[in-house]
Symmetry: C2
Subunit: 521 residues, 2 copies
């Protein structure tokens, strides 16, 4: 598969101008502001010559400009805008594609000797600047290498008794699911980037999957991890649980390539659900819907889907268009019917002022949700070509603060959108529900000023992030920190934890070559 | 409450000689070997004079010999034997009881300046030498202080909406439950040490509670942690979930006092279960019972109790006495009946060759289990006085290795018991069940040689630990590492993780005063 420099799919799937023109009236109607004429993507601007030669990597390195450009950005709004313009400001000097964990070690060794920075690269779908080889101004590194794990994509072993598999870190979602399907298993981990992101990337960024409750974080699906550092490699013991000291895996989970390169992991598998039940419930008040979500999880129910969508987003996604919020609710089980769970959840919803939408089977249960869900990035790139600023950001917060938090973040962001862009929409849904809180997910659509998008984005992003921090949320629930969230992450994490993390990094990566600029300095 | 130097309860509850004599025929019959005449506990031997004065701690310090002796041991078999003999080889020079987190900080500051080692002390129930102030031979520390958190025992705040509470680290199980009960909540965390152990101790040791599945580890119940280090204090943000970098809390969970002193934490609460269902199922073959446990959890069922007890332990505990193993199974829910879950689990058990025991309601559901469970430590000290070597140890292993693992550990340990003691029993039960494995828990009873107990214990312990490591298990699933498990922990944990941990400790605790000898050197 050939990946485009900036598009979500392969180049053949990129939006065509006549389709975009045809979509303009629909987009204007839907968004409530006037979109721009479709932009024709610019060719890639000339790149600076590589500051190092690929030959040190013995046939594994590439200095092809498209390759370098592709590894210079992720898939954030900023990345797509820069990609469309052909202006990729930070590119690696070489892209290296090791075939084995041993070769990953050799790459790190060679880079360590030379002081070359190394940016681990999985699917390259970061929406927070996680893979952009942007060195700090005072960087001591004479060159940057993008270490692409795409050749490590095999399921190496399946343990059907324990329901676990050893999988290489570069395996994309569809890769590993196809290999597991032959054994009757599934990882059942579906982040929105499923098609284009990798197991190693999920672990490095503490990704969360589509399911609203239960073991939906990759953290909970990991049984053991192997990582390669400049000083050698490390593997934890495969265990269902352990109390032997702080968890080694939990130090790598969320380490964003700054402590080591994840090369493989044992992960927990499931069998496909045999039973499903779901529906949608409308709420006149978003707050009543949120109370219903809280009561459902606090009752001990564990819905697979439990997505409260606000009225604006319900309209945009054609879920409901009467000014009410919608809770899209579903249960699934590998073994037993879950109708009783759904019935109990519906009672709770009714008690909270919800009205079940007759005849409306939860889209979550129809099997089509996944297609819709994973198609969203394709839609997004069309909107960007029509001059729409599209941004998503997310958080998590405890229930006691939830209502005020969502109000404040929504209002602050909408104020910023209107101030910066003159018009726009901010929508909210919940993605994950916990007994003690929930994860709200915000989407922004606004008319961008061509050429001014990056500054507009930065101003809106900062306003939203400040509101998140002031409201007691986390700067990210599942998008990771990357370079974009660093200022707020630095304020969020305890300073002494940063001291510990910095010391750990210094010990594991003395030359500081691993993904400089993310997580810690 | 006054604690005895070595007993589980207060001194008034310690076993009396005439009761022990009366119990001898029963013990002989039950254990299959002849117990010894009851030992009369010896008075406490004179302690070495304190190497530092208490006055530096401004009224918070004690050099009382009983106080020092009590803080010199935990509650392992070795500790009880040494306590009975009045021989406590390692005692702190001073016991300090700060009243606030600020005072904890002052204690650390004063000790840091002087190079005095500090052993954080919660309930002092470690069964692995976690609180024994035993400095390495080459220790640079001129004195050792036991930092007892017993004065920090308040529930500071309850958030009824999010179901969470901020609780001081020195609160014992009954302390915090009594304070929470007034608000209608419960932490519902019941390790066997519940009566005598503290929230801070649970966090420092990654303790697990009584429940077999679900959020039974303290790891999952913690929303945020505050810890004091020699360089200041650190608090994580209260969040239901987060993907912002590696979890700060997970670095403290299991850190055994070596990285900081936990002073308070926000924890997740529940309401009391309104519905329960349970029963017991007999299996002619332990392996069939294990297969049933595996199939129950892999079906997505989450029993509160799911304890497979082998035939020997079933007989010893009067659960069943016909040579069969017993699965004690129960479900509970705060909201809805769980009879359907029990019915499905019983179908699985029947398919796996199990026979439901008629009329036998699961002891787990009767409310009496907790009393029996938390009374076990009292029984144990009676047996030690009757010359019985009693040891428990536990592990966790993936299902693919489970059967061979339990066989090998049981056989190896029994061989060692017979070689070392001439007779004895080794029993096994499962305590926790996961989709990918389970936690087996072993109990040893053997006739000890008076005066030779510690050497006998060490030989049996080493044989069992070697078998655990060879079989692919963890050296501890919920008892922690302490000093007793260090050799095997050092072999289990990835060397580069130890490198990272050592660097983190050095950064947080430059003088190395925090609990030297545990976790890392």
């Amino acid at each position: 598969m050939t990946y485009a420099v900036w598009g979500w799919g392969d180049p053949a799937q990129q939006p065509r101008t006549h389709d975009l023109v045809a979509a303009m009236p629909w987009a204007n109607e839907l968004l409530g502001f006037t979109v721009a004429d479709p932009e024709t993507p610019s060719p890639l601007q000339p790149l600076p010559p590589p500051r190092c030669a690929a030959d040190v990597f013995a046939g594994l390195g590439s200095t092809d400009p498209v390759d370098r450009a592709r590894h210079g950005i992720g898939r954030s709004y900023r990345d797509i805008v820069r990609g469309i313009r052909g202006e990729i400001p930070h590119v690696p000097d070489v892209v290296v594609r090791p075939r084995t964990a041993a070769e990953v070690g050799e790459v790190l060794e060679r880079c360590s000797e030379r002081g070359w920075a190394v940016v681990p690269f999985g699917g390259g779908t970061s929406v927070v600047g996680g893979v952009e080889p942007m060195l700090p101004a005072d960087s001591p590194h004479p060159a940057v290498v993008s270490l692409d794990l795409c050749r490590l994509r095999r399921v190496l072993e399946v343990d059907a008794v324990s329901r676990a598999a050893l999988i290489e870190a570069g395996a994309l979602g569809p890769d590993l699911e196809a290999q597991l399907a032959a054994t009757g298993h599934t990882l059942r981990f579906y982040p929105q980037s499923f098609e284009r992101s990798t197991l190693g990337g999920w672990i490095a960024t503490r990704a969360a999957g589509h399911y609203a409750t239960g073991a939906t974080h990759i953290d909970d699906l990991v049984e053991s991890v192997t990582a390669v550092t400049p000083g050698g490699s490390w593997s934890s013991r495969r265990l269902p649980g352990s109390g032997a000291g702080p968890s080694p895996d939990r130090l790598l989970l969320g380490s964003e390539g700054a402590l080591g390169v994840v090369t493989q992991a044992w992960v927990r598998l499931q069998v496909r659900p045999a039973h499903r039940a779901g529906t949608s419930i409308a709420f006149t008040s978003w707050r009543d819907g949120a109370a219903a979500v809280r009561r459902i999880v606090q009752a001990g129910l564990r819905p697979a889907g439990c997505r409260l969508v606000d009225a604006t987003e319900a309209r945009l996604t054609s879920t409901l268009d009467d000014g009410r919020s919608v809770l899209v609710l579903s249960f699934e089980s590998p073994d037993a019917p879950c109708d009783a769970d759904l019935a109990r959840a519906l009672e709770i919803c009714a008690d909270s002022g919800g009205s079940a939408l007759p005849g409306r089977v939860g889209v979550e249960t129809s099997g089509r949700w996944r297609e819709t869900f994973v198609r969203a990035p394709y839609l997004r790139e069309s909107l960007v070509l029509l001059g729409v600023l599209t941004e998503t950001f997310e958080s998590a917060v405890t229930w006691d603060r939830f209502d005020a938090f969502v109000d404040a973040v929504r209002t602050t962001t909408l104020d910023a959108v209107r101030r910066v862009c003159g018009a726009g929409i901010v929508t909210c849904r919940t993605t994950h529900a916990y007994a003690d809180g929930a994860a709200p997910y915000f989407t922004v659509f606004a008319p961008a000023r061509r050429g001014g998008e990056l500054a507009q984005w930065a101003e809106i992003k900062a306003a939203a992030a400040e509101a998140i921090m002031a409201g007691g949320g986390t700067i990210t629930h599942h998008h990771a920190i990357g370079r974009d969230h660093r200022p707020w992450y630095d304020a969020q994490r305890p300073e002494l934890f940063a001291v510990a993390l910095r010391a750990a990094k210094k010990a594991l990566d003395p030359a500081g070559i691993l993904n400089p600029g993310v997580l810690i300095d």
